[in-house]
Subunit: 410 residues, 2 copies
């Protein structure tokens, strides 16, 4: 680990000084190499798939590569190469009365560790984002995707080196030994940030063991609150989309909050969800609205279903919604539906989550939907970067102070 880390640090120093065009050329060459080596990557994936017969169909689907998925991976790397480079951007600058000129300038973080599970394409996606932001990456795939990830990694490094970039910019842990994850998580001074990409148990383990900073979210218990001043047709569309568009993503709604004042008029909203096969668990006062509703239990308010299951509670207006989210939310994404601007602004300010939406679906919690072109993940941490994290979140800053001989008086 120490040797890997030292090599990554040297590569990071080189990357930090590269102009945008050189990084983009490297990633374009890496994308080309992924295409050129598609057959090799697919054959490695076949071996992974054969060894994965015992895994769940969902995990096998995440693991599977097809010619289309390999092409999408290469195109994704090219898309990252075309994103605006955050490095070198002046965040702020000002002049002091003594003539010192101070600039706060974006720089790469340094060395990023990516720990992931079954999706081999994370090698390309996360690797490309780290590199474009000037960081070296150390990748640790799950044991089930190791052959696929190694083949993708080999292709990318070939491309990077052909374009004159350091091969150590993108390193892959060479074995599936679980102790190596522990070593990464304790590699203070060698790894500056770890990003876990995978299920809740992986994220929880990484958070528990890490001595280095971690960028992650554990839960996405996202709420939609329908206010008394809501357009109920809009509310129905948003609630339906927030729950049912994709139920397994972290931005999916898990709890619907309904202003008690309009609860009697919300039967059709719940009926539409029930019609679509959603299991809807509601507070007692809502049960008369539809015979298919079942009573919610206290654990429902703290559960991320990631499935076609929804808990529904009535609350006492917007402040009731804010209190419910403060008690049960996970700081991820929450939405209010209302036609009243003051109520909306109160909700946007008072709810303490990374993403707050007014009259829009929680499923917009995504770097691509934010216009970032990609994302390395969504953070519910309170420091550094929150919400969807892309290139800018993979940078930090330094101060450049330009003077003309100033010394500090006593």
């Amino acid at each position: 680990m120490a040797e890997l880390g030292a090599r990554a640090r040297r590569a990071a120093r080189t990357l930090a000084g590269l102009p945008t065009a050189r990084k983009a050329e490297g990633l374009t060459a890496a994308a080309g190499a992924i295409r050129a080596r598609a057959a090799e990557i697919l054959s490695a994936n076949t071996a992974d798939m054969e060894a994965a017969q015992g895994l769940s169909p969902a995990m096998q689907d995440r693991l599977l590569l097809t010619p289309g998925r390999v092409e999408a991976m290469a195109a994704g790397v090219e898309a990252v190469a075309a994103l605006p480079d955050p490095v070198g951007a002046v965040i702020k600058s000002w002049r002091r009365p003594n003539g010192l000129s101070i600039a706060q300038v974006r720089v790469p973080i340094g060395v990023i560790g990516i720990i992931f599970e079954s999706r081999p394409n994370v090698t390309a996606d996360a690797g490309a984002l780290c590199l474009m932001a000037g960081n070296a990456a150390i990748l640790r795939p799950g044991s089930e995707s190791l052959r696929s990830a190694a083949a993708i990694h080999g292709a990318m490094v070939e491309g990077l080196v052909a374009a004159g970039l350091p091969g150590d910019a993108l390193q892959l842990l060479p074995s599936a030994d679980r102790a190596l994850v522990g070593a990464m998580l304790r590699a203070e001074g060698q790894i500056d940030l770890v990003v876990p990409r995978g299920g809740k148990s992986l994220v929880a383990r990484v958070r528990e063991e890490a001595r280095v900073p971690v960028l992650s979210h554990l839960d996405g218990i996202c709420h939609v609150y329908i206010d008394r001043s809501a357009d109920l047709r809009m509310a129905s569309d948003i609630a339906f989309n927030a729950k049912m568009r994709r139920t397994g993503i972290c931005g999916a709604m898990e709890t619907l909050l309904i202003d008690r004042a309009i609860a009697p008029r919300c039967g059709p909203i719940l009926g539409r969800l029930l019609d679509a096969g959603c299991d809807v668990r509601a507070t007692a006062d809502l049960l008369p609205l539809d015979p298919r509703l079942t009573p919610a239990s206290p654990e429902d308010w703290d559960t991320e279903y990631l499935d076609a299951i929804l808990s529904v509670a009535t609350v006492e207006g917007v402040d009731g919604a804010i209190a419910h989210i403060a008690a049960h939310g996970s700081g991820h994404t929450d939405s209010i539906v209302t036609e009243d601007e003051a109520t909306a602004e109160h909700f946007l300010s008072a709810v303490d989550s990374a993403i707050l939406l007014w009259n829009a679906s929680t499923q917009f919690a995504d770097g691509g939907e934010f216009g970032f072109g990609a994302e390395i993940g969504i953070s519910t941490g309170r420091l550094h970067a929150r919400g969807p994290v892309a290139l800018e979140g993979l940078t930090t800053y330094k101060y450049k102070v330009r003077g003309t001989g100033q010394v500090r008086p006593d």
Copy 2:
């Protein structure tokens, strides 16, 4: 700890929603209460001083309060109340093609833990900064300053409550029990950030034990590099100020690097430091310049003296300086003296420290000198905030997304 944390979280939620004027009124009232209770604070300090007879004169000086120091503390709190409020500022905003309007808005971090040693005035300084940025603070003074800190804390809370702010916004750990520090450092979910204020051993312990994020610097091994294109008179002034203005601060120069090409002309620069009583330890090639120079040992390059001691090395031009700093620097503050702009810009970009200066003294590494009005500390971490950290570094952001009924397409 859990109860303290829960009270702090409630107070933080209130503070986060307060307009600037209310926070400023609270701090102004706290400053007034410090003045009104000056006699009580001084008498508590007398008791601390009596118990501190065994401590070093330097520690006793840090502990001592005088009427002037109490007044300065009150004035400092008022100065923080007059600073621009970062909370609510829109960092960035943009509109997506689907009409969603996205704003990245500054919000408080939440609950900040401050762990400090002998300076009782940290109670007021750090407390005021946390509050003005909308955060609740939990303060843990060193045992030697406990009575003084409690008196200051009591006065400030009286002022805050009189101004209608929650008293729990500023809590003081009620005992000197060391186990309480451990509890703070493991209070994930209750404390969002810990700032240690004190010597290296305190910072090291906090970093070692903390499960919550820590904002700190461990070492300030700051360098000044005199390039072949330097104005040597300017270089002499900067080197002298960087070392001798105050030798005990983290921004003091510890190592002077001299371009080999001009080393023979740097005798007067070293002579001036030697004349002022500085112990100058140099590489062998410099020793002939002055008989008072002593040979540097390998440990000198990694030592933060915090005293009138300096190590001096010749290096092969600016790249030699960059390599030396990469090997021995602490990522704090480094300066180049040169008349050549390209050389300066190369140094500012290539050296990986929080603060880089061109033709200015390293002793400018200070929030006040940066124009921040104050500082909670200087960070050499790579995430969130680097360099001098003041109000803005005590905030994070959320995304406010305003729509008109948008749902996410498949």
